[in-house]
Amino acid sequence: MFGARQSTPVALFAPLRRLVAGAMARDLRALVVPGADVALAAGLDLAAAGLALAEGPRQANVLLVILPLPAAMLKAASVAYAQMPRPRAVLVLGEGEITPLPEADATGAASQEGLEKAVATLRRAFAEGAFATEVSDFDAPALQTRIEYTCPMHPEVVSDEPGNCPKCGMNLVEAGGDGGHEHHHAAAQYTCPMHPEVVSDEPGNCPKCGMNLVEAEGDGGHEHHHAAAQYTCPMHPEVVSDEPGNCPKCGMNLVEAGGDGGDGHHDHAHHQHHGQDGEDAQVGWLERIEPGFMSMIELTEGTPRSSDGLQMEWIDVPFGPLFPGLPGGLTLDLTLDGDTVAGVQVGSAVAEDWALPDGGLDPDTFVAALGVQMRLSPVSYRLLACRALQAAAGITPLPDEDMLHDGALARERLAERLLWLAQMGRQLGLPRIESRAAGLSRAIREAAPSEIDALRGPLSGLVESLRKTPFLARRLRGIGRLDDQGVWSGPGGAGSDAATRLTARLDGVMADLAELKRAGGISTPQTPDVTGVGGHGHATVETARGPAHLHLELSAGRIVSASLDTPSNRHLPLVETVTCQAELADALVAVASLDLSPWEVRA
């Protein structure tokens, strides 16, 4: 097993190790990539197969990957895998590429049967190979190659992208120091707070205790702010310190820097101010500050202010793409001011570019690709494509058949609404609702018309119990309120909040049931025969998230241009509206109440 835990082969502990390995094999906690919702949409019952859902990578010992997945998602999965404690295993369902993840410990088809077989294999692998004397390490390539940017003042601020320090607003510099930043970093020395004898030119970890190295006192970065008498090394002019002492490079005594010691950057600026008006009391009191003092007012000047005027630490926290409370694949990067959302960036790790290849696509491939990409609602989008093709080719659909297609659409809408309910139940801490909604969603997605009647009772029961759940409406009221004239086209309509959207979706469940009854049957759409035909076509399909539109152009039986408009793609910018200045938990509920599908987002 690749992710085995290293252990020395002491015979005395062998029975204990066997016992522990056996327990692990029967207590598997899975982190699902891309998400539990996709597993549900694929009809997988993880609990029945013996997999519990893990809260995060640290609590998981199985990484369950449901293929196919785009590269960005696989990269996120590899980072999650690197965070999982050993022993850990990879379980892959479906066909496709999984690099940069390591080789799968068990594979199977993306069906309940395939999952159960794979879990059995995995159990054997755990029971036999959880501990090994020789283990190979896994380092996520995504973690290795990145360039880190750090703040010269706050070495603990590390970011993947250049930008400003969230603490003081200074420009972030590349860690390690290159070109333009030489004057800051040539002298920067990093040392371990625990082991002062450890000195390094680069930030990193202490070889003795693994702690993060901190910038040694008196390096270049602090220069501006310490306007006091400065001490420097006669041999190494780049070593500057506020206090007398020894040079960290050669150990010589530091000498006072000549003449201009008290005339640093900082003081000059204030002399100028003084010269201009002389009376400015605000500057006046700064004059008397003890030399060497680092002014917080100056440092925080010009940084963004929170609207309540009480700025706490700003931190960037990623929620997703593998966050348990949100749809798998949705990336929500929140900037938090205390626990209030001060900024948001939303995206999708599973988005695809919808550009068609040169020369167009043949209709069958197009319909199939759309079904694969729209993982949560394949039937709706296949139907959308088929209807658009029919419109383009001028084929009039048979009313009976159309009715049956509407039935398929209603069934999937129902399954999707329940999927959302399960997700919401998970986020709000309602495990009973979560498991009931998930079970029903799974049952309905593939249910035959005759089976749906049997599900009618449990469904209305669930809807009733949701309506009666104490405090649920109160919990959701006022959260994620939308503008009256926004782009929102989902359930609840303009001006809705999370509570009204929940009610609208519950009403939707009952409406879908009625629609299913009216349709009288279900049939999944087949790609129409459009050989050699040309023309324009447009179709609209009502999905659980709102209407989806497809406009396509046919030329000689091939699709040469297509423009797809999905509800999630339209609703994505609303995330900013509903999370702005909200408390963190409220913001997450608000985002979840929008029911965004990251698969429908355009890259």
Binding site: G56, P85, A130, I315, D339, L428, G429, F471, A585
Partner: protein, 299 residues
């Protein structure tokens, strides 16, 4: 002998709490579940976060466990079956559990992870809500027994259990106790869908095992306190005292966790508003009512 019973109570109690807790999350009763989970955690690598405050990271789970166990020291299971009968027992219970907050703040700060940190600070906010609602109902209980000693408190309920004598106090204390043990729906610091595990998010292996153990003992301790303060502790017909204690504690635990299964997680802001605007006035009313009762109807 009594030491043995107390240790057994601690171990079995923790085990049963763990079984019920697993049921409250997964909906399935699996007697072997906690043992398996414990063995799994024992064998799992204990990962150190990337830039931890090592001291806090290591101390937090242990402090949680120690605080929870200490708070059990004043719980009488039967006459004479108590670790230490302090004259200030009821207050000591609070004092020990105040360190749960310290443990969570340490555990949240230690691993240098955003989820954990937010979870830790959230619990501080939660404490500001429930703290008064733990102390004020206990005051009313002590008014009736004229003592802070838990043994005397149980004896004072000989005629009528406190749950009937001061039902308002019981409701307030039960809710505050649930918030104190951060069980759902008050699991703001460790919510899965909210913070991906929060304070627990970065703990793995043995450290997590200690953390989980501390959590289970904490739930046990809060349930025991409810039993002692309001449900007459060991009092009951036929069965021996310790059996009544055990049964009551188990039932209280099950009810507490079942309630969390049916309710959505509270909003921090509305929890605070509820506690201060409604809870504290009600607690004052409760103290007043009990005062009148104690003077008028000596029961």
């Amino acid at each position: 002998m009594s030491t043995l019973i107390l240790v057994l109570f601690l171990l079995l109690g923790t085990y049963f709490v763990a079984v019920i807790e697993e049921w409250s999350v997964t909906g399935r009763l699996r007697p072997a579940g906690p043992v398996r989970a414990a063995l799994r955690l024992l064998g799992t690598e204990s990962v150190l976060a990337r830039k931890p405050d090592r001291l806090f990271f290591e101390v937090a789970p242990v402090l949680l466990l120690v605080a929870a166990i200490l708070s059990l020291a004043i719980i009488p299971l039967a006459p004479g079956l108590i670790v230490t009968d302090l004259a200030t027992g009821a207050l000591f219970f609070n004092a020990a559990l105040a360190y749960v907050l310290v443990a969570l703040i340490m555990g949240g700060w230690g691993p240098d992870g955003a989820y954990a940190m937010i979870g830790g600070w959230r619990f501080l906010g939660q404490l500001i809500g429930y703290a008064m609602l733990v102390v004020m109902p206990i005051t009313a209980v002590a008014m009736r027994s004229e003592s802070l000693s838990t043994v005397v408190i149980v004896q004072s309920q000989e005629q009528l259990w406190n749950i009937l004598y001061q039902p308002l106090g019981f409701v307030l204390f039960a809710l505050a106790g649930m918030a104190m043990a951060f069980v759902p729906p008050f699991d703001l610091p460790t919510g899965a869908g909210d913070l991906a595990g929060g304070v627990e998010a970065e703990y793995t292996g043995v450290r997590r095992l200690v953390f989980r153990l501390g959590r289970m003992v904490l739930i046990l301790s809060v349930a025991s306190a409810m039993t002692v303060f309001y449900l007459g502790g060991w009092l009951g017909p036929v069965l021996p005292g310790w059996a009544w204690s055990a049964i009551k504690i188990l039932v209280v635990t099950a009810l507490m966790l079942a309630a969390g299964r049916a309710l959505p997680r509270v909003r921090e802001a509305s929890f605070l508003a509820w506690c201060w605007k409604l809870g504290i006035p009600l607690a004052l009313v409760n103290i007043f009512l009990v005062g009148v009762l104690v003077l008028v109807v000596p029961l």
